[in-house]
């Protein structure tokens, strides 16, 4: 296929995808086209979009590609959609930030930073599918380990986790450790779709707080 034709096909594929279309998936569908070529074509398409001044443009987001409206036209689109759903509360947003930067993270780590019970907020974030349970920590009590979901990347317009704005001064604390992580069953990553994940029963049971997995400093000096 010629480049021009490939671009048309890519445009069609991305247009009909419900979630950002990954390179893997494009490769699977198109066969015989290298990722390198795909990346080149997509970059060209994005460049053409930039020049063409159309209302929608191709965006690299959540480990894939998606057509999105331009922020400049937000007011008009909102007028059309009359969206009335709720945004995140401050506590939810902060908890989400903690999870985003500290993942994989257990509830106790979150509560140590926030200094307050976070069960309600975690449930809310799970319901909104912005976070997911990515495993259980291999320590007594096997507390659930949380991480951000693909939808998180989509909502916040991030290419991947490395695309998160740097958290000042936190680099010195070292990269997140995946040690002692028991993976849950494999997730269907190939489709790039977020599976609705039910928080398993007991996700918020207080018992998980009774087990101190590490020799962390006590919550308070008292």
């Amino acid at each position: 296929m010629e480049d021009a034709q490939l671009k048309e096909v890519l445009e069609a594929l991305i247009f009909v995808s419900e979630t950002p279309l990954t390179l893997d998936r494009m490769k699977e569908v198109l066969g015989g086209v290298s990722k390198r070529d795909l990346q080149r074509l997509l970059a060209e398409m994005m460049e053409e979009d930039r020049k063409s001044g159309r209302g929608i443009h191709l965006v690299e987001v959540a480990e894939g590609f998606q057509f999105r409206t331009r922020p400049e036209h937000a007011d008009w689109v909102r007028r059309l959609k009359k969206t009335k759903s709720t945004a995140l509360s401050q506590p939810s947003l902060e908890t989400l930030a903690i999870i985003a930067y500290r993942q994989p993270v257990v509830r106790m780590d979150i509560e140590r930073i926030r200094g307050v019970d976070s069960g309600g907020v975690l449930r809310n974030l799970l319901e909104k599918k912005l976070i997911k349970i990515i495993g259980k920590k291999d320590v007594p009590g096997k507390p659930l380990v949380y991480g951000t979901s693909k939808k998180f990347l989509e909502v916040f317009g991030l290419k991947d986790l490395a695309d998160l704005p740097t958290l000042k001064d936190l680099e010195s604390l070292g990269p997140p450790s995946t040690e002692g992580l028991l993976p849950l069953e494999e997730e269907g990553q190939t489709t790039g779709e977020e599976k609705p994940e039910e928080p398993p029963p007991g996700a918020d049971e207080p018992e998980e707080r009774n087990h101190e997995p590490t020799a962390e400093a006590p919550k308070d000096p008292l």
Partner: protein, 267 residues
């Protein structure tokens, strides 16, 4: 510590509903709020001032029958502990040894760490968000979308902003009069419906519109609890003009859906 607000009306104020705070802020938020409000240097916190103000807020929350989380009490104890340690003269004998750490150090470290995540959260929410600034073909039902707000620059209020606003309303009440004991039946559900009806009529309302000069102390408190309950149910959103400025209330929920929620969720 006695809060002057409730001084005149001690125990008999029986409140109809215990409001749960789990989806609200915690003690660190309160401390950061007080630090900001008093324009305090976080590295040099005047611990007795902050402790006193912290305890006043705690008292206020308890008096409102808010289900104050144990963490708030723990923090109160921590503050008092730090305060007492700071009162002790530095022991001369230990000179030469490692200098004793400032008793506030651990708390400051925690506040800074938390603050960093709060800032990160602000950073995250600034960008063009899906269904707020940018849109895709409708695939998400429960999006993060939000109605356009004049006050979006300033952001949502915290529990403490609301407490502060209510405190002002209470303080502005005329000096003790013989309060008319009306048989009026004040319950939160009626209040909630009343607030929502007013919101559905217009687009938004000011916090101060909720009260008039003749509003009774009890009614003020019930109205306040109604607001908290509505916030918890996510039926209202509350924004503040600039820091510590006018508070405006919106409802993201329409009348039909709203009435249903009230019927289902509020006893």
């Amino acid at each position: 510590m006695e809060s002057p607000l409730f001084y005149r009306e001690p125990e008999q104020m029986e409140l109809p509903l215990k409001v749960r705070l789990e989806t609200f802020e915690g003690p660190l938020d309160l401390l950061l709020y007080l630090i900001k409000k008093n324009e305090i240097d976080i590295y040099d916190i005047p611990i007795s001032v902050i402790t006193q103000q912290y305890l006043e807020y705690l008292e206020m929350m308890k008096n409102l029958n808010l289900d104050v989380a144990g963490e708030f009490l723990l923090m109160a104890a921590t503050l008092l502990h730090i305060k007492s340690k700071m009162l002790l003269p530095a022991t001369e004998e230990e000179e030469g040894e490692k200098e004793e750490e400032d008793p506030r150090a651990e708390l400051v470290r925690r506040l800074l760490e938390y603050q960093r995540f709060k800032e990160a959260a602000q950073q995250l929410v600034k960008g063009p968000l899906l269904d707020r600034e940018v849109f895709v073909r409708s695939f998400f039902g429960d999006s993060l979308a939000e109605k356009e707000r004049e006050e979006k620059v300033s952001g949502e209020v915290t529990l403490f902003d609301l407490l502060e606003a209510m405190k002002k309303v209470l303080e502005a009440l005329p000096e003790e009069e013989f309060q008319e004991i009306s048989a009026e039946h004040l319950n939160i559900k009626d209040k909630i419906l009343h607030i929502m009806e007013r919101l559905w009529e217009g687009d938004s309302m000011l916090f101060s519109d909720l009260y008039t000069a003749s509003t009774s102390r009890r009614e003020i408190v019930v109205t306040f609890l109604a607001l908290l309950e509505l916030l918890r149910l996510r039926m209202i959103r509350v924004y503040q003009g600039e820091t510590f400025g006018t508070i405006r209330i919106f409802s993201p929920v329409g009348p039909e859906e709203g009435r249903k929620t009230i019927e289902e969720r509020i006893p």
